[in-house]
């Protein structure tokens, strides 16, 4: 079990360094164990956005923390070859440039995996292959419109 965990840990670190650098250009990322006990220690996450000091993830700004957490969670899902990624409004605390980088990374993943996003953000919407607009024209009842980006048609579905 210890050997397996060590290998998984090393693999995740590599994947995390990749995803974090894509989201935070020239950024560095690391995962470490807080103590010597491989099976019991806490897992520490350290990141260093460009030009800043290497610190634990929890000590950064709202958007910087979100970026680091998302990078590591995506790394974990990549390592387990998740066939689907579902994300509900995780772009809310991110600025425009970070959203662009997140979108680019997800577009990269979408070649092999399915990606479902919920968003209020225009750029995220524009970057997707298909959009479903949900409304409550009739109060309290959800209705769906499917908006096709390719032919810009609005179709009522369901």
């Amino acid at each position: 079990a210890v050997k397996q965990f060590r290998e998984t840990f090393a693999g995740i670190r590599k994947e995390f360094q990749f995803t974090y650098e894509r989201l935070s250009p020239n950024g560095k990322a690391d995962i470490r164990l807080s103590g010597d006990d491989i099976l019991e220690s806490n897992i520490e996450v350290w990141v260093q956005p460009e030009g800043k000091r290497l610190k634990r993830m929890e000590l950064f700004s709202t958007g910087e923390k979100t970026l680091a957490a998302v990078a590591l969670l995506l790394a974990i899902m990549r390592m387990r070859e998740s066939p689907i990624y579902i994300m509900d409004e995780i772009d809310a605390p991110l600025d425009e440039n970070n959203i662009e980088r997140l979108i680019a990374l997800l577009q990269n993943f979408s070649e092999k995996a399915q990606i479902l996003l919920v968003t209020h953000n225009r750029r995220t919407m524009e970057a997707s292959n298909s959009i479903y607009g949900i409304t409550m024209e009739e109060q309290g009842v959800s209705t769906v419109l499917s908006i096709n980006l390719n032919d810009k048609r609005l179709e009522l579905s369901g």
Binding site: F5, I12, L73, M77, Q114, S130, I134, V144, S146
Partner: protein
């Protein structure tokens, strides 16, 4: 494994029969606050075996059934159907796998795989290895993940092996 279709009927705010035929690539769901976007994600969780009412944002299981509005009466059943294209991700001998879950106000729950009745555990086992349940990221999960001394990080890492 690919999710091809999501069908809702009577699930939370989706009183009307609603179908999503998913295309390749990135699919986004958009709309005003409270219109039902997260409800769709709850439906996916529920139909793949989620039982935690807290995770599903319901105080009691009946809260998953359309509760009615001023102009529409409550419904008696909530149903969610998910259709998957199976390219190895699901341990069954079908190319297409349809998972259906129903819950009735009487308290009865039904579970079907390709229209064959089964138990909840059978549905949960289908998705146990695919990491489906931890494939859903939201604000809450990110916050829990940011708590430095919780077991969550370790559990996620161990689930990869």
């Amino acid at each position: 494994m690919k999710l091809k279709e999501i069908k809702l009927l009577g699930f939370k705010s989706f009183s009307k029969k609603t179908e999503f035929k998913l295309k390749a690539g990135i699919t986004t769901f958009v709309g005003p606050n409270g219109c039902g976007k997260t409800n769709i994600i709850d439906a996916i969780r529920w139909c793949t075996g989620e039982t935690g009412t807290k995770t599903l944002r319901a105080e009691r299981v009946e809260d998953l059934i359309f509760a009615g509005t001023e102009s529409r009466p409550p419904l008696g059943m909530a149903e969610v159907k998910l259709v998957f294209e199976n390219n190895g991700g699901i341990p069954l001998d079908y190319e297409e796998v349809e998972v259906k879950r129903q819950f009735f106000r009487s308290g009865e729950g039904k579970f079907l795989i390709n229209n064959t009745p089964c138990r909840l555990r059978d549905i949960q086992n289908l998705f146990a290895n695919s990491g489906f349940r931890s494939a859903i990221l939201d604000q809450q999960m990110i916050e829990d993940f940011l708590i430095s001394d919780s077991d969550m990080r370790r559990e996620l890492l161990e689930s990869i092996a």
